[in-house]
Every structure is written in C-alpha cells, then in structure tokens.
Amino acid sequence: MNRNTTRQATAAALALALGAALSMSAVPAAAADADKERCYGVSMKGKNDCAAGPGTTCAGTSKVDYQGNAWKYVAKGSCEQMKSPTSPTGQGQLEAFQEKKS
C-alpha cells in the first residue's frame, strides 16, 4: 500500500469514527443542567459543588456543614424544601446567605 492510500484509509477511518462519535454524543450541553438548581447552605463539609468563599475556587472546599456560601446542584424545586440549620429561613436558599449563629 503506498503512502497516499494509507493516508486515505486513515482519513476514512477517522471520518467514520468522528461521525459516529458525534451522532452518539449529540446531546445539547445545557440539557444535563436544565433540571438542576444551585442550592446554598445544604451541603456537608467538603461536599459542595463549588463556591466556598474567598481563597477557595472549587468543589469540595467548604469548611463546615451547611456553609451558607457553598452550593450543591439539586433537583429543581427541591432546594427550598431542604433543611439547613444555618439558614435564617431554616431551608436551603437559591442565593448565598450569611449563616445565623446557632
């Protein structure tokens, strides 16, 4: 097989693979998040999805249970029904809040 034929075979194999891969994973990126909401004040220490305050940049960095500025992705509508002992309303909130003193 000469160099050109090899190259064509590689191109064909890649085109086939990329086409298949694209059709298999053609899920709109936003779909996965559509039924989730960010819920503040309900995550356990170190189990937050993100935003645990100054000096921390990402998931798993909250320092205490129910930290008011740490959030977790939860099913839409369920956030404000979840218990949060640190929250002034007693439930999780859709915005970061100042924890009340217990």
Partner: protein
Amino acid sequence: MSAQAGFAAALLDAARPCPDGLVAWNGSDPARRFAVYRNNVVVSLVDALAEAFPVVHALVGGEFFRAMAQVFVTTQPPRSRLLAFYGEGFADFVAAFRPAAELPWLADVARLEMLRVRACHAADAEPLPQAAIGALLADPARLPGASFGLHPALGVLRSAHAVVDLWAAHQVDAPDLSGLDPARPQAGLVMCECDAVTVTEIPVPAAAFIECLQAGASLGEALDACSADGGFDPAAALGALLRAQAIVSIREGDKDHE
C-alpha cells in the same frame, strides 16, 4: 547551614535538637514550644494529604495513612506555597513504599486522586461547539493532520488495576467492595464539568489515544500509535472526549498539505 535552613531541617526531623537562639514570648521553654510547632507543621501537611487522597486514606485506614503520609511529609516537604497541589510526588512515593506493596493498586488510586486535584484547580476553557468539530467531516482528507487542543482540566489514567471502580466504590459512606476485581485493567478520564470533578471509565486503548492527543499528536499520528492495539475503537475514544466536552480547539498543521 543558615539559621533558616537549620530551623527548617529541625522542623522536619524530630531527632534534631531545638534550634539555638529561640525565645518564647512568655518566657516558657523554647524547646517545648518548638516541639508543638513541629508537630503542627507535620500534622497539618498530613491532613492536607488526607484531604487530597480520601480514597487512598479509606483503602489503608487512618492509622496506616497517617504513618505513611508522615514519612512523605518529612522526606518531601512542600516546594510551593500553594498547598492545594501538595502531593504531586505522593503516588510515586506510595509505589515505592514497601509496607504498601500488598496493595499494588494504591499508587494508581493516588494518581487518579491527584488528577482530580489538578482538574479541580485547572483553568476554565470553553468547549468547541459540536458543529465546529463536525465541520471537519466536510473534508476528511484534513482529518489525519488535524490535532485537538484539549481542556486543561482533562486527565487520563491507564492502570493495570480497577482504579475507577475502586474510586467509585468509595464515593458512598459504606463502600461495598464485593464483586470488585482490583486486578482488572482499567482506564479513567478525569474532567471538571459544572464545577464538579468527574471520573469516567473509558476503554484502556482509548486512554492511550487520548494521551497521544494530549501530547500534541495529530489525529492521524494518534490513530497510527493505537491501531496496533487490538480492540481499539476510535469512535469510542472520540465520543468520550465529546461527551466530556474536552475539545476546546482544533489545530491544522501544514505538514498534512504536502
């Protein structure tokens, strides 16, 4: 040895005496104050490792982990003031740590956990829309020479052991390891999605292909490097990258237009 180097060496080696010239603010014995500080330094670094490597910690238990981590801390103290990345050398250390030799998968679990730490702190990058990637199909002759710029958070690990299963089993409070075969070779893809770090199992040959792309190889070069591997499915490898939204740019070198 400078006073500072002597102080640092004595901090990490309990056999060394308290450095000369220390004075306690309240007139108490400087040697006792120094011993407290020495203990705090080591304990805080061991704590940092325990937080970065929770599954290694769970696999060996707290007592073993802390003893192992203490040896690491005193022989390989942090080189950077960024404690978040402390533990880069931990997996290699674990691999060579004789008392852990009975758990040959432990070092790779540590590697996976370090990839998660890196992914968590990696820069953000916007994934390419699938339409832009699909546009490559318009002219397949360009495909072999094209290469992908991959997301900075993307990590790939190939292991002779079931590292992804071991890691996944420990994401619940009461891990159930029954039915888990640690001797099964496994590969994992680590990615930061929606601000959470994910770990996904991918076929081992796909991991090799993605490693080639990460190293800057073109699609054609990566395919050549992997096609000798029996059972390699390039569609599965590309699909894993697409699902992880890990492709952030396409480069087309001139070498393919010969």
